[in-house]
Symmetry: C2
Subunit: 774 residues, 2 copies
């Protein structure tokens, strides 16, 4: 009773200002400040509509919070930080909500991970589900599992009418979509969830599937009506996998989102009748990894979208219309039918329209009938779209099969169409565009020659929300006049109002070291980005050097490389998560018993990088040996010499055959590989599934000599299952192998201009037999 009174004594009584909230007019609302988990639990238990539960500033460690209650529309129960940005949820923590009209705000999840399936979950259990609840103004930053192989979600939607708004969510590097909407049960369908105004910050490459930023449903619930609304979010370098968003249910909407330099696409993977309207897809000049919209299934409407510098191909093209499998099983590819693509603008995209993507009729020898995508799109309409390219770009269409089910009407392009498919409804016209904002171009003059297709009268607005009228309309996403000062990415529209997403770049320190002890200690003490400069001479190091940040090691005199001689037993350098080692102008040698670079055996929670430039590495067991769960974004060897070791680079431990792999980009250029007795590179990706395309190998301008003599399969370079492979302008001389490498013909791999002497040959296998993942 005492406690009850003391709680009462801190009540803040006020009268609601909402005119409709009849019931609550006389209800006292409490601000309940809590300082620990026990108090929090008690406050949740005793809370009622209108109460604010306030978490005291500070770090809440190992907090598993079950927030359960019954607010009202006018008077939700709010759980929030005392000061936004000053309440940290850390350690082994999560938050589950159940009930109705609950609101969580201003929390900052970092430096930890969830012990359950999810960080934030809109249910406590199957009998306690959240409806009309909201999580807003929160940050989840690198709250990722220690082991990348452990799967979780950061936000799990269950129930109906829940909202995730104005959050900043970034840095998930383990398996599992960041946000996942579940539809398993009538309580969860027709959910009308709102995922709005969020800033989805960078999600690193995962290497293989299960790295989506948002997944709505799954194949087994793909027949359910979902009605999830994903609107006005910024997807900022969300590079997890080929699907940034995977829509796997019906009637979802994707509106006014910005996909900024994200390596993937918005994919309508399962389910039907999505609306994709008014989104922006921005690629960049260099990358062909950034995609647009990939379309499978029935009845989608793709309108008023703006594609800028999307240079991806096939799965990653601006608009990829796939071939289906006839009578497809639930988890494979249905035919595309009754899709409308209208009033979109494609600016400086290379080949933005690609049809029958995924057609694999030629692979029928190695695939079962139930995997053959031979069903071409049917009853598809492309109308009133604009294709503009400032440079001569004359292949707007790529087709992987006959295009006979697509109705092209009143589409305009400023270049000639020299594609194989030349529909009358794609009209070349010399028109000009105006730059109206950064990355935004619109027609100088409206082109009102539009096609009025079935239900087109419902496309009432343009990209900016301006009305399309009979007298003022135009092909393309934008109708003139455009309101003054349009902004493409207005960062105030996304994420929280308190978190700074852009960190200050620390300036790199140059640290001169003269002795081995200095070398070891300075690397330990360095901050990420620091440059360790070696005095001339030889450094003898008897321990492994841990690389868990960005470290550059270089010589004070690049003409006279300093040398580090390792006697450490396991490895010279131990690569940890986020380790980024740049070796430049140095010589690294071992005693043949240890590796040069080795990852941690476990808990490789995040990617590492390795950059070897103008460097000599010699006398090791293996150059690089990795663990199964590890992942490298980039392994680069350039202008370097790798010599005298048992094996080269072993990126071959991820053998689940689930489409995953150990490195995204492996690049060897202008380097020399000499006397590597085993395999020079073993880079493996297993499992047949074209949707998890990946692995990039580039071997260009290298010289391989005297390698491979102990390789038991008599092969120099193993690259099985890697999708993108370039082998060009190399010299292979006196390597005692039968095979230099096996290329995958169906992926367009072929050797270019290599000089081969006494080194076996480069084979091409058209159709690789791979393990079916489904």
């Amino acid at each position: 009773m005492k406690r009850f009174l003391s709680t009462l004594s801190i009540l803040t009584l006020f009268i609601t200002s909402s005119p409709n909230a009849e019931a609550s007019i006389m209800k006292p609302k409490k601000d309940i400040k809590v300082k620990n988990l026990a108090e929090l639990r008690s406050a949740i238990k005793s809370s009622s509509a209108g109460d604010n539960i306030i978490l005291a500033n500070g770090t809440w460690k190992d907090a598993e919070i079950k927030f359960c209650g019954k607010g009202t529309k006018e008077n939700p129960i709010v759980l929030k930080a005392e000061t936004p940005g000053k309440v940290f949820i850390e350690g082994v923590s999560n938050l589950k909500l159940a009930g109705s009209y609950l609101e969580v705000r201003d929390l900052y999840f970092k430096n930890g991970y969830t012990p359950s399936n999810s960080v934030i979950q809109f249910k406590i259990n199957n009998d306690s589900i959240a409806n009309n609840c909201k999580v807003t103004q929160c940050v989840i930053e690198e709250f990722t599992q220690p082991d990348r192989d452990v799967s979780d979600h950061w936000v799990e939607f269950w129930g109906r009418h829940n909202e995730l708004s104005n959050n900043y969510i970034t840095g998930k590097s383990n398996f599992g979509p960041t946000v996942r909407v579940f539809l398993d049960g009538n309580e969860h369908v027709n959910n009308y969830h709102q995922i709005i105004n969020n800033h989805f910050g960078p999600r690193p490459r995962k290497g293989g599937p299960h790295g989506e930023t948002i997944q709505i449903g799954d194949s087994e619930t793909s027949m359910t009506p979902s009605y999830t609304n994903v609107e006005n979010n910024l997807f900022d370098r969300c590079n997890g996998e080929v699907e940034i968003i995977s829509s796997k249910s019906n009637f979802n909407e994707f509106k006014k989102n910005v996909f900024f330099e994200s390596e993937g696409s918005l994919v309508l993977r399962h389910g039907n009748y999505a609306k994709i309207d008014g989104n922006v897809f921005i690629g960049n000049d260099a990358s062909d990894q950034m995609g647009g919209i990939r379309i499978i299934n029935t009845g989608h409407w793709i309108t008023n979208n703006y594609f800028y510098k999307i240079k991806g191909n096939a799965f990653r093209s601006a608009i990829a219309i796939m071939n289906g499998i006839p009578k497809s099983s639930l988890n494979r590819y249905n035919q595309v039918t009754d899709v409308v693509v209208a009033y979109n603008s494609f600016i400086d995209c290379v080949s933005p329209w690609q049809f029958s993507v995924g057609s694999n009729v030629s692979q029928k020898e190695v695939l079962p009938k139930s995997e053959i995508r031979s069903a071409r799109p049917e009853r598809v309409t492309f109308a009133n779209n604009l294709i503009y390219s400032a440079t001569k770009s004359e292949n707007p269409i790529v087709n992987y099969d006959k295009v006979d089910g697509v109705n092209f009407k009143n589409n305009f392009i400023n270049n000639a169409n020299n594609s194989e498919v030349k529909p009358a409804g794609l009209i070349t016209k010399d028109f000009a565009v105006d730059k109206i904002a950064t990355d935004i171009y619109s027609l100088k003059q409206n082109n009102n020659d539009v096609f009025a297709g079935f239900d087109f009268e419902n496309i009432t607005n343009d990209f900016f929300g301006n009305e399309r009228t009979a007298s003022n309309n135009s092909v393309g996403a934008i109708v003139n006049p455009v309101k003054s000062n349009p902004v493409l990415i207005d960062k105030t529209r996304y994420g929280t109002n308190w978190f700074a997403t852009e960190k200050l770049q620390a300036t790199a320190n140059k640290i001169m070291v003269a002795t081995s002890d200095e070398l070891v200690n300075q690397i330990k003490k360095a901050v990420s980005g620091d440059i360790i400069v070696l005095k001339s001479g030889t450094f003898k190091v008897s321990e492994s050097i841990v690389i868990d940040k960005e470290i550059t090691i270089t010589s004070s005199n690049s003409k006279k490389k300093s040398k580090i001689e390792f006697t450490a037993s396991k490895t010279a350098f131990e690569m940890h998560p986020k380790g980024n080692l740049i070796l430049k102008d140095v010589v690294i040698s071992g005693n043949k018993s240890q590796n040069a670079f080795t990852t941690l055996d476990k808990n490789m929670s995040k990617a590492y990088n390795l950059h070897i430039e103008n460097t000599e590495i010699t006398n090791f067991k293996n150059i690089l040996e990795v663990s199964k769960g590890s992942f490298s974004d980039n392994v680069v060897v350039t202008n370097s010499l790798i010599t005298n070791c048992e094996n080269g680079f072993l990126l071959n431990k991820e053998t689940n055959d689930g489409g995953d792999y150990n490195a995204e980009f492996v690049t060897f250029t202008n380097s020399k590989f000499d006397d590597i007795q085993g395999v020079v590179l073993d880079y493996y990706r297993g499992g047949y599934d074209e949707s998890t395309i990946g692995g990039n190998l580039k071997l260009e301008g290298n010289i391989f000599t005297n390698c491979g003599k102990d390789q038991t399969e008599h092969i120099l370079i193993k690259n099985r299952g890697i999708v993108f492979v370039t082998i060009a302008n190399n010299i292979f001389k006196d390597n005692a192998v039968k095979t230099i490498a096996v290329l995958w013909g169906e992926k367009g791999q072929k050797p270019v201009n290599n000089k081969i002497t006494n080194s076996g040959k480069i084979e091409i296998v058209q159709n690789l037999e791979m393990k079916l993942m489904y």
Copy 2:
């Protein structure tokens, strides 16, 4: 110009009384009477909103009518008969509609068939589609293709918001659903078609698939939202196939329909989220062919339905919940999930709840993995249902697999539950029911012990439309008090207001014949149902006798059978469509060169029947030989002697292996088959598809002697693929075969109490290898 004036001169000017029809207030409406097709075409061309186009009384032969126009909601363009029931559309005729707000009424389609895919079609072509159009007060009677194998539909729905109301439709005997809703294209989805107040009269058994009365969508459009409403119709002995209605799209509704003695079920074959509310399913005492609701897929709500004497099993049980195929292909069987079966009444049904129907895990040796239905129902709720049986009926549940995904809540039964599955949520309670109308029973006292499941608050009314309230509710379909004088089948609610569906039964004439000429001529002259009585003695007939109606041939003295000796070349009796030959107490003989009974080679548009009782048939080539397209409802041999012929009954010409077959029921009882040199019976159904169950063979109490000696496969009775087979209490003696018959173990077939001497044996094959249909 002259014509225009003369048309104007017959205008009937009037002012609409609709207050909202602004535009039409001053519009002159015309009544345009037309007497031939040219006038009709011209009238249609010149018609506008509010006009009536009136077909003159009489027969309109070979009329292909394209009714195209633009009416308004208040002022449709109407095409109608001068007098309902006096305008006959005959010959090779059809009607296509396109435009909006058209109405067709009072037409009578008979004595003909369509030259196209459909009799009535809600589109003219893909560019001319009907919306908001109506066909009402029409009759389509036996407007069936001459050849049963030719497929058509009688009503094809396209477009949106079309209506088929108050029609009488009966007698379709060829391939193809009677009414078919198409969803191929955005113009046709979200259609909200109304199929209401119709009387679907008897549809004869088709034998195999494609005999639905209504089919909505197909597997390839099963992901589309349809919203077709099927309400308040009478399905009156719709026996076409195992699916009376095949719902193959989403969000369809089936409400307040009566399924009266119809041999099939309302089947949710593809698509999800159907609502089935307030329907009646009436079986009868004798038949186990009448089913209820068969459930596949997700999210259906089955509420307030009333099942009376549904005695069917498995596919034909009152509620059949199927097993699905994991990750099923589009055209096979999805798992059942998230289905609610609540507030239904099951009165005098044998085993009304059957789970995992279609489970075929045991057949995995003969079927590919993609055909194995092993996915049990999940997240299914059975609540607040009532099971009552006046007699001791203690097996309410049949399960073909484990029942672990069904939540049983507050269901009540008046008998013990001695089924294998005994959920706590099925409660035995001694309660009484009242007969409140013919075939309608309700609880004497409400049982308000109801479960409130998710969304159950939306079940607001009972079977009769009475409100379910917190204070007045009950398990079962009916809540007391029931309004006085409820009527289960009020025929004024269904069909037209002008057509008499019940024909007067003509009394049978007995016609004595003394000579062969009299015999032949009197059969020609007889009306259906007549009885031809043969004087004692022998009738020599040199021509084939055509049977195209119901004819009984009998002897004046049953003790001393009259004999007909045939010398006709091809056959003694030629069976035509609708022929029904009853032979009783006679002897029929041939000269061994001709058949006793043969169907037409072609144009067997309707079924025939053959009933042989206390009759001797001898000295023919084959007893019965049929053509591929022919179909017999019943072939009955009882207390008869069949002797000295090459073969017996050859019902083996339907070899498409599409699930079709040549006869529904073949029954041989207490008869003697002697000296049939070839096969006694060849009765064939090919093609694996459990959904097209059929073929019924009963051999009971017969004696087979000296048969089969020339049968090349050494088999006496061939019954491959026939699903229901009884072989009991027969004597097989001295038949020179290896095999009497091969029974299909998986279908529960086994020989009972047969005596076999020197006649080979009856084999059982557990799993028959059959050709996959899909």
